[in-house]
């Protein structure tokens, strides 16, 4: 199809329409995606592995579904998959030496639902090892580059998925978000990223990091594509007892209808200290735009949000230390070649298999859970988590969505924060509380500073995705930030 000048990369909606109308085949679209990856990913390094043959087989299956009358918005659409989601007999490395040879015997429910809808996985994307990090630098395979500036980080942990969508290698991608790992890279790369309500999407087949916080969600270039992915992957799954049984509403039919009387909550503290002026100006500009669209802005407070980073960096590592105990060199994963005793086999296999950030978090969690420290650290953090959640409950009595920055700065340089884990953690300040409270949140492009994208975050109450997506679409429909693409395309000359 001829590219719309405002949409230089086709969206998932464009591609599925072209495939369903017979203009293109899914096999042809998948082949184009592979060519695009071959042309540009040498410098971005968003993908850890691709398998053109298997993608072609999935695409052929999608063409059969379409011939049988599939009406799915995702039929024939290439999707990039974060490499911590299992697909049967595909590598799933979590960017860790620990899992470099692991091939899961089953497929994650979210991926299974995409496959059933005719979407075509075209490759596995880079991440911070076991999804622990905010830059995709903690990857055993080396960092992914931000398509807007190759010297900068794409964010993390789902940095590969964000970069793949931003660079036009895939119209949609799956990521996982434990403390901002979808929204922060979406902001750094100038794309849409959605973290659904905790439990809205089954976590079956997602390699566990912090089970009470982890949630799978989409990356896309438009709000509609994010809604289409959510429509497909949401819903109860008997294989995940924490997946919600609430019926899945229709996210798409009234997506373009502006919300009358929308109340946008604004937290003054969010704009106080540590926030770059350009980011602050862009987010305030977005709030002003909502006002011009008829929304009412409401001043609200979230008195405990300043404790969210400290709370998270006790709870998430505690859960991680327990979840990652399974990597023992016995059932799957790396086993050291030299050892004398069983204990030494465990210690050496784990010492060799995990990178520094993973070790740091396992030790932090083990410490917080250990005898004599449990009450002061883990129990205290769980209590503050309750207060953070109660702040949101009170705030959402006064507003429908909360508008905030996603990140305090635009994308930082690769290496800039690598030696200072605490500084890296503090960059998660705006995204973490949504995970602690279990509420949905979306990041969407709202401006640029010195050529780097800026993200706007909207948060809503649990299960408010229909309203959250419509509110996001209202902003998107009135702006064209989402239509900008990095100049990468001009430099390489390749078209998607």
């Amino acid at each position: 199809m001829p590219p719309d000048p405002a949409q230089p990369y086709p969206t998932a909606a464009d591609l599925s329409a072209a495939v369903r109308s017979g203009d293109r085949t899914a096999v042809d679209v998948a082949a184009s995606a592979n060519e695009r990856i071959a042309a540009v990913d040498g410098r971005i390094r968003a993908f850890l592995h691709t398998d053109a043959e298997r993608s072609a087989a999935w695409a052929a299956n999608a063409d059969r579904l379409i011939a049988d009358g599939s009406q799915s918005d995702l039929a024939g659409v290439p999707v990039a998959i974060k490499d911590n989601l299992c697909i049967e007999d595909e590598p799933c490395t979590c960017a860790s030496r620990m899992l470099e040879n692991f091939r899961p015997p089953y497929t994650a429910t979210a991926v299974r639902r995409l496959l059933d809808a005719g979407a075509v996985p075209i490759g596995r994307t880079n991440l911070d090892e076991f999804a622990m990090g905010s830059s995709t630098e903690n990857s055993g395979a080396g960092p992914t580059r931000n398509p807007w500036d190759p010297d900068r980080a794409p964010g993390g942990s789902s940095g590969g998925s964000a970069a793949a969508v931003a660079a036009g290698m895939a119209p949609i991608a799956l990521g996982s978000d434990t403390g901002g790992s979808i929204r922060q890279p979406a902001a750094f790369c100038g794309v849409v990223g959605l973290k659904p309500t905790y439990g809205r999407v089954s976590r079956y087949g997602l390699v566990a990091f912090a089970s009470s916080l982890d949630q799978i969600g989409p990356f896309s270039r438009t709000v509609r594509d994010a809604a289409s992915v959510l429509q497909t992957i949401a819903g109860h799954d008997p294989l995940d007892s924490t997946s919600l049984s609430d019926p899945v509403p229709d996210y798409l039919s009234d997506l373009d209808e502006p919300l009358a009387g929308l109340r946008v909550g604004v937290v003054a503290d969010h704009f106080d200290v540590g926030l770059d002026k350009e980011v602050s100006d862009a987010v305030k500009g977005a709030i002003e735009l909502y006002r011009s669209l008829g929304a009412e802005t409401v001043d609200i407070t979230l008195p405990h949000s300043k404790y969210s980073v400290a709370t998270y960096y006790l709870i998430a590592p505690s859960e991680a230390s327990s979840n990652l105990a399974r990597y023992d060199g016995v059932h799957y994963g790396h086993r050291a070649s030299q050892f004398d005793t069983l204990e030494q086999m465990y210690e050496r296999s784990r010492g060799e298999g995990f990178g520094d950030e993973v070790k740091r978090r396992i030790m932090l969690g083990t410490y917080a859970l250990s005898s004599g420290y449990y009450d002061a650290f883990y129990l205290k953090a769980m209590q503050v988590r309750r207060l953070i959640q109660q702040d949101f409950v009170a705030a959402f009595e006064q507003c429908d969505v909360i508008a905030s920055p996603v990140t305090p700065t635009t994308a930082f340089a690769i290496g800039e924060l690598a030696d200072d884990p605490l500084a890296m953690y503090l960059s998660d300040v705006y995204t973490i509380s949504a995970n602690l409270a279990g509420i949905p949140a979306i990041s969407l492009p709202c401006g640029f500073s010195k050529g780097l994208p800026i993200g706007l975050q909207l948060l809503g109450p649990a299960l408010s995705e229909p309203k959250l997506l419509r509110a996001a679409r209202m902003y998107e429909a009135a702006t064209d930030w989402h239509a900008r693409v990095p100049s990468l395309q001009a430099r390489t000359g390749a078209t998607p």
Partner: protein, 109 residues
């Protein structure tokens, strides 16, 4: 809750190199020479920061372990297909074809 008043003062002591060595042992993580110093400095900085929580009054606050109300989920007690043995063993570092193999645990020549 046991001795909520006493616990914070124990934890407020900054973490020592010896503590980190102990935690590494508990975590079954072998440390290379030199690693311990770097981890100690980093964990000290992070734990110093999380003491920010000490200023929050949490008296009587119910701890929140989960983002949603977790209920027992029951299903019919009927057998369903299980992962076949060969698939379960396929990723194991060492097997004898039927079982996972580990080094000898009990003594004896």
């Amino acid at each position: 809750m046991s001795e909520p008043a006493a616990a914070p003062s124990i934890a407020r002591k900054s973490i020592s190199r010896k503590d980190v060595a102990r935690v590494a042992k508990l975590s079954r993580l072998e440390m290379k020479p030199g690693e311990l110093d770097a981890f100690t400095a980093q964990l000290r900085a992070i734990l110093g920061y999380v003491h920010l929580l000490d200023e929050v009054n949490t008296d009587g606050v119910e701890p929140m372990a989960h983002a949603i109300d977790v209920r027992d989920v029951l299903r019919e007690d009927v057998p369903t297909p299980m992962l076949p043995r060969d698939a379960a063993l396929a990723n194991a570092p060492a097997t004898d074809g039927d079982f996972f193999l580990v080094p000898q645990i009990l003594g004896g020549e």
